[in-house]
Symmetry: C5
Subunit: 368 residues, 5 copies
């Protein structure tokens, strides 16, 4: 736990990235992730209640951007999924095609960006963190940026991840009401999928707490304290990603932006319920991990007490006895007891009395 | 305490339920409880100041829904009690008959739903947790959903529970003012019955604290710390269910929804007083359980101190004496003291002086 | 401290009372105190700037209520003091005579009611806790309900207590401006008398903290920790009664109820100052009691350190010496040192050197 | 630290004062300080940009009040400095002359009054605490009440203190802009002088923290913990006096009272900056004193560890060796080793091996 | 860590500076830094989209101020950089030339001033702290004051520092959009550069935490606790400088001052995001440093436990054995065992049994 193994999901040179950006003008589009040189692909899903069209766009051809421009103008709902953000120049061109503010384009590829929602005149821009567990059950936070404009939702993400798979299926299979609703509902559905996945991560934390609780109660080791601290840090980390979401959803509900319909706000109210619940859970996990540490400390103290009792009992019983036998090991010429025929047995008797007396004393003190 | 026995009141496969829902569209009606396959029954109570009619409806016949539709339209107050939520399709049909939003129907059977109040144009929807103690004195939280529409209150709950029994009696026996008032008063009375039952649970917590306090003061054991931690978790759990209620009642009071009359708001003000009082109690219980842990730790330290004192006194007295008798156990050819006729008794005298000196020393240090 | 003696001021069967109420309709007038069967007396004080009339009313005659009704209508200020609340039916009749809402009448005899202020169209209803110290210096909280209506103030209380005695004297002796002012000033003056008495209780807490501080510094015992915890609980209890008052007074100041004149609000501002000060004091007492516990723990640790040092010094000095004398107590045939004429004295020399060496070592470590 | 010496700056009989007031009407002017029977003097400073007049008024002559009444009416700025508050009747007469509300006059001599600002139609009344260090470097808090009315500022204080000396000099020597500005600027300047002096007290706290930090790191003693607790209490005490000031200054800035000009508000903004800074410092000092206690506890634990290590090493090395020499001190007739010519030296060899082995073991454990 | 070396970046006589100011009128321009007698230089950068002019002004000639006055009037954007603040009279003259309020001029050279933003009719004045790490990796906080007036931004700073170097390059090299925008964008860009540098400091804290975490886990020493406390103090210090920035930027965004264009507010929103993120990080670092201390304490306790176990095992095994050999070292005339031919070997057998028995006992207790 003390030494971290290099993890393919952890940015290896985050610092240098941050430094690279320092001193640059705001709005400069710099990819802040650690998956440089990855390829970028664009999937487009165009649908209305009756028809659905799925297409992949080649980011290296100008036709792609033209096609996107056309889609944006059409009355059907369009979901543009940009996967892989390391190709900064393409993202910048795409952003301009969609009419995004340079600051939004910058944030779309800034994988360090905190969760946020910015309203512009013609679109709403949001950044969130998708949380999931990797193969080694470690927490991974992936950056995702969402743009809601008229009839169009654009998703910027790093990996072709499965958080939105259920949603894609619902659109394709015409399950639920999504096909009959407009882009703002799609925006909500994406947000809802992200929030829903937070529960998976929370359940994992809950499980870890239960396991640690058992470890603390049954067999606390020195490593247990480390594990509790690691858990606390994980909760802090999750809270950092998840905490702002509630306020952001609330902002959307209170927003008077024309892109968010009153109907969708009912659904957003649901999403806010979930965010509130998640924040409450995290608060509870935080208190529980602090209780775990307390419990651990009290267990250590209890163990020390037990150790001390054994020592004290052993020493208190045998030290006086050893003194007595030492007395009769002295070599004085004149020691009357030594001459007594039963002296040796009297001494044993005396020691037995002391022994039993001390046992009773410790029994009364409930140390035995 | 460390190992939890399986409890018939605890959902055994909550995780799988949650996963089942993930990726589904919001508004999909999925029963989240753990009492699958239970039967659903519907009790209807229709009353005005003069007459009262009680009926049970068979959920499997379409006549039931038609009857409910008629009742809803009539000017008398109707209390529809849906008991057992695992029959999702019936609940969905009933919800549509009552004109509920799909999101409300979803929440009616979502037993994991946090306490909430949602206002819609034609009805008010609330979810609360009924808390009570089971036969083993363990805390149980049951989901209950309330719908207030014109002249009608619908209650969705899992068990034919007794929280509302007093209220049913008051209506049947025409006690109190309930018969002469409209549906919003019934809604308040249901809420009031739920909040009133929180006090039972709080009193149980209070009792546990008093017992633990005595245990900590009188005879703290290693298990005591576990019990304190369990108590803390129980308080956290109750708080989670109960805490939102105050704000929700306040929302109802501030609400301008036409279904809540000014008169009923006076009563809601009373309910809010109770919620505030409950939240304050929980806060106090929380602080008291933290104090208990502190007290426990200080008791452990005190005990350790006592153990150490016994060891130190025993060792400090007998170790020097043992050294002295060791000296005269040496076998040197030339040890003048050994030849002295009273040497042995002089040594006893010396040891007695040392013994008394040390006793005085420890007495002065207040260790004895 | 651990076992509580039965206290004549503590409700012996509070739980049963609470249960008795459960399931009853809100507004049902049930006396929640523990002084059942006590007698009820009603004292009336009617005054204006020039005249004053004091009367006792027999609650068992209908004339009493008629008389009260007349008083309420007269333009002079009337202070009605209802002492003893266990006669529920009289209180209910009186409440109806005064035109009180059933909820207010319920709260007037609900001695568990949290501090509150409710505004109604024709009167203002407040519940507060009078705090004082009983003969054994224990904290007692008495329920008091105040009603301010036009020209009349009604006080519902359990005992003919002395908190309002100063105020009665001021009215009778025409001291201060109270005789020349209307009922809202009397209402304020009653509230002010209650708040003023909180200081007495706070001073008692302060004194306890000072005594405990001295005990912790001078001679901490195992009982000291218990006392600190009891103090903490007392502060929590006082805070519970006192904390809401500030907000309630503020509510009165902000209120636009016609019964509160602008002039009286100036005085209420003063009362709020006092409430704020009391809350701040309680906050400080809370922090100080936590510091006391910290101090206590550090003192225990220091004592343990001292104990350990004595043990370590004794053991470290005599264990090696005992080993040396053990060596020359061995019975080998061939031990050259034993034959040396001065061997015995050489060993003493060696032991002296070791003894002094260890003393110097411990001195350098500042353990001596 | 544990025993407090009587301090000439500490009220010796505060309790009795408080009790004396209890039951009195609000607005009763009772001096709450502990400097009874002190003399009262009144210094008046009248100035405009060109002229300045300084006078001392004899409080025992009616002429004084007449003179003050004339000054108040004149267009020049007047600073009336009332020093010594124990003459309640004079303060009351003066207050009436100045047109003050009885509540303000009461607060002017109520030295226990918390910091406050009350706005009246024709004047603004403020109470603050001047903090300084007495000759023994102990914190002293003096009550000061300020009244701002048209062209006049009245200061009620207990001692002819030096907090305002710099301000007096600036007026007399025509330094700064104060001579050319009106009374509200003088009011601000007095407030500013009070706040400025808080920094002196804070610096003293900072110094104490640094000294304690060194003591904790270098040579923590049992007394050190007491000192840390005393520091914490001092910070709590200062915070109590200083904390409300920020909010009060803010209230003045937001006030629409005609006595505060827009220009003076710019200066008040500066005073609020200082109050904010002071509150932040106190917060930091609070956290630092808690850290100090933590550090102290960790140091005690470290010391205990060290003590235990010495004991364990000494005991673990010599106890086995003593056992071995004990073996060969037995008196069995048949003990072959004793007959061996080099048996004694073999035993020494064995003991040396054990000794070195244990040293290596402890070295490996890093206990040496 | 305990003794601070004199640091060239730390004000050596801050106290005297503060005292010097006490009693002075507000608005008195006194340099509060510790770089007295340093020279002052003024660099001017004038630019619009097409042209750029850089000049250094000699503060000792009146021409300089005249030139600045002309620049301020011209429509091009002017960045005036005042480096070195100890020449109070020049700063005062410059301030008057720029039309600044005396309070702003005072704050421009008051290096103790907390971060603030004051809006005046014709300019906006801000004070911030630039944080960086000096050559010894210690945190340094430098005062910087910014003035935004029409077409002009003035920067008051102590050192020709590199925080703004990137910005200067962007202007000179016409990178980014800065050249085409007006003064309010320059003001934002300066603020953004300051905030960007906070990340460097935070990364350093993060690194320290990671190193300390390893030290605590691997090899905690007494010094480690000191380092953790120093870290906590550093976090407190950074928080003090950085915390107000978020609120200040928010104030600018909400401001309706005509100098801040709607366009620039979009960028300020970005700066606020960063401030929020920084505050969250500091909060997390704070919790992590508290966890570190907890971990450290639990490690000490664990170590103590281990030490005690070694002692207890050694003592518990050898003390009884030593007693046994002591028994047979007694010199009684009549001790039958001594005469037995194999007595010696029987005793060894007995001791072996005890030895093995105790080993098993400790093994079962998991102490071995």
């Amino acid at each position: 736990m003390a030494k971290k193994k290099p993890n393919k999901n952890t940015p290896p040179k985050k610092h240098s990235k941050r430094h690279q950006k320092m001193g640059k003008a705001p709005g400069t589009v710099i990819y802040m992730g650690y998956r440089d040189g990855g390829s970028t692909s664009v999937n487009v899903l165009e649908y209305d209640e009756n028809s659905i069209l799925e297409r992949t766009i080649d980011p290296d051809t100008p036709d792609g951007l033209t096609f996107i421009e056309e889609l944006t103008a059409s009355p059907t709902t369009t979901w543009i999924d940009v996967i892989g953000l390391s190709d900064e120049s393409f993202v910048e061109k795409l952003g301009k095609t969609l009419g995004l503010n340079p600051l939004s384009i910058e944030d779309a590829v800034n994988t360090n960006q905190r969760a946020k929602i910015d309203e512009y005149d013609n679109y709403i821009f949001g950044v969130f963190k998708m949380l999931y567990l990797d193969a080694e059950n470690e927490l991974v936070a992936e950056h995702v940026a969402l743009v809601l404009s008229k009839n169009t939702v654009v998703v910027f993400q790093e990996l072709k991840d499965d958080v939105f798979n259920g949603l894609r299926d619902r659109i394709t299979n015409k399950t639920g009401r999504i096909r009959s609703r407009s882009a703002d509902y799609l925006f909500f559905a994406l947000l809802d999928a992200i929030i829903d996945h937070y529960y998976v991560v929370l359940e994992n934390v809950n499980l870890k707490i239960e396991l640690l609780e058992e470890e603390v109660y049954e067999n606390p080791k020195s490593r247990t304290a480390h594990k509790i601290q690691e858990l606390k840090k994980e909760v802090l980390r999750i809270r950092r990603y998840v905490y702002p979401v509630k306020e952001l959803v609330n902002k959307l509900i209170d927003s008077e932006h024309e892109l968010i319909s009153k109907d969708t706000k009912l659904f957003l109210r649901d999403a806010m319920d979930h965010s509130t619940e998640i924040n409450e859970s995290l608060q509870i996990y935080r208190e529980m991990s602090m209780s775990l540490m307390e419990m651990y400390m009290s267990n250590i103290s209890n163990k020390m007490n037990e150790v001390m009792k054994v020592l004290t009992i052993m020493a208190s019983i045998f030290i006086p006895l050893t003194f007595i036998v030492g007395v009769y090991g002295m070599n004085f010429d004149n020691m009357p007891e030594l001459k007594m025929p039963n002296g040796y047995f009297y001494v044993w008797g005396l020691m037995l009395i002391i022994f039993i007396g001390l046992l009773i004393y410790f029994k009364k003190k409930r140390w035995l």
